[in-house]
Symmetry: C2
């Protein structure tokens, strides 16, 4: 009766939930009551504290359906949450999914979102234990709550940095921002810079890196770069009561991203530091405990670059070719 090019409004809630459920692996044994009752019932993990985060992505604010395929929407919706857990050093465990769907959304799009979400969830062993579906007269909105676990003393916060601690960032910065620029052009789909567009469409949350940093107590403070490096530096500095001094030369800006920013006539350093969506980790480490970074360097799945140091002086600066400049505040207007 209904086909893959029909709208979600032609389905019952139960049908749509079943389409998600059929993409999920068998329930883990700690899940006592799963999807289908008023609420899920879960056995907590022994000797661990719980780490909880919620994040929403809204069409028109966080993604544009014109160039973000459904599967990437599902992937990103979960990735932004897993990135928060990674920044705390937590192992992801479960997620609750709340979708507000335009009534005319094609069920093929719904399926694609569920595919992207389920694939990333399976890779990180996150079980989707419950959710909610509603229609909306507005944009597609995906709200996900994730819960992870960590040993109490291994949880990383943003307030532990001290003057003298060194600042590290994982992977590269600005790649997702450059990828978004490429996708915004019609040429986006044909670009050779697949690394950039992939960085935007399918960011890899640094879960393993976060776990290794936490487990080895290698980081004194950690945040994820959902809102860009400048914002992340401000958050650590403010929470820890330190300043930061970073070196432009050290910033791990992808060469392809740098070329793209150059072509646009924008300063690559400024662009890469203010671009969001990178989902890398920014952390601080005591120089004398640098050896603790070994496991994270070898098995963390991303290069780590030392970009600067925390300072007694409470200002945030970047040393450029022949000047030292302040790093603009990360406090963003509500958008």
């Amino acid at each position: 009766l209904t086909t893959r090019n029909s709208a979600v409004s032609e389905y019952t809630e139960r049908d749509l939930i079943a389409r998600i459920q059929q993409r999920l692996p068998p329930a883990p044994d700690w899940l006592l009551v799963g999807i289908g009752d008023d609420a899920a019932v879960v056995e907590p993990e022994r000797n661990r504290v719980e780490v909880l985060s919620v994040d929403a992505i809204v069409e028109g604010v966080h993604f544009d359906r014109a160039f973000v395929p459904p599967e990437a929407i599902g992937h990103r919706a979960l990735a932004v949450n897993l990135s928060d857990l990674a920044a705390m050093g937590a192992a992801p465990r479960l997620a609750l999914l709340s979708l507000a769907l335009p009534r005319d959304l094609q069920v093929a799009v719904f399926d694609g979102i569920a595919d992207g979400l389920a694939a990333l969830a399976a890779r990180h062993r996150v079980h989707i234990v419950g959710g909610n579906l509603t229609s909306t007269a507005g944009p597609l909105t995906i709200d996900i709550t994730v819960i992870g676990t960590v040993k109490r003393r291994q949880a990383m916060t943003r307030d532990g940095a001290r003057a003298g601690d060194e600042l590290y960032v994982s992977g590269s910065i600005g790649s997702a921002g450059a990828g978004l620029e490429l996708l915004r052009e019609d040429s986006g789909r044909q670009t050779d810079d697949l690394g950039l567009t992939t960085a935007y469409l399918r960011p890899e949350p640094r879960v393993r890196l976060g776990l290794l940093l936490g487990r080895n107590r290698a980081a004194s403070a950690c945040v994820d770069l959902s809102d860009g490096l400048a914002d992340g530096l401000h958050r650590i500095a403010e929470a820890s009561g330190v300043g930061v001094a970073i070196d432009e030369d050290k910033l791990p800006i992808d060469q392809a991203a740098r070329r793209l920013f150059d072509r646009r006539g924008v300063d690559p350093t400024v662009a890469a530091m203010s671009a969001g969506d990178d989902y890398e980790l920014l952390f601080t480490a005591r120089p004398r405990l640098r050896h603790r970074l070994g496991a994270a360097l070898r098995h963390g799945g991303a290069p780590l670059t030392r970009i600067g140091v925390c300072t007694e002086r409470r200002d945030l600066t970047i040393a450029r070719s022949d000047s030292v400049e302040p790093i603009a505040s990360g406090y963003r207007h509500f958008r």
Copy 2:
């Protein structure tokens, strides 16, 4: 610089979060990291399992700002979630709040929503441990995840009813539906039927009743009536593999609601059974264990009415003055 009649888009995210935080009580000692880091960190409760639920309310689908005041929007957003916990017999513990705000939303409205939410949270000792704010080009959307706790053997599900079990409903049904009808008219604000409009605007989740039913193992199955009695009966019947036979005469339909439905020329029984938003509990109890209902009857905060019985035959029927009619399916189209 900004005033109470300015829009949320004139504020930073941090300002808006602070406006919520200032309405919250001091953090409980099990909250190790609260609002302000990448995620919250929580010590789980010993010897309890966790009950998790997520629910969203969307302007234009679940409420209309023309007649639902901001404080009632905040109240309802949390109440629908607490009702899910009540149906499982769980004690509420914490909530995560995700708001998608139209950029032109007045900050006074934002404050009102936060007031309604914080007041209900305080009453039920639910601590808001984290959240997310985003703007949207669409309707105001409030997404809440709640977590409660319960002793493993005291969690109530919907699949435990057996033939012969008696069906009970708390409070009255149809009141919220009638209240919504009144509010939809302009006269809503001037009505004398304050009980009805309050039932819609500020439903009282039956948390205490759910706890007592679970603690005394008094109910064999339980659901909440967010989507109406007919829907609730279908959910218990299907999950438990039983039929139900109820008596029209027994239904606790509020007299004022009955009069309103009569005036509209609609069948009060049909209207009250299909109206949503009541947030009462529907549960089943073994006749020989009826004494276990004592505490719930005395201290549950709501009258309990026996409305029928579960049957071996798998059909759902209602006995009316001179006929026995089937109860229409609760499976709703996605809306």
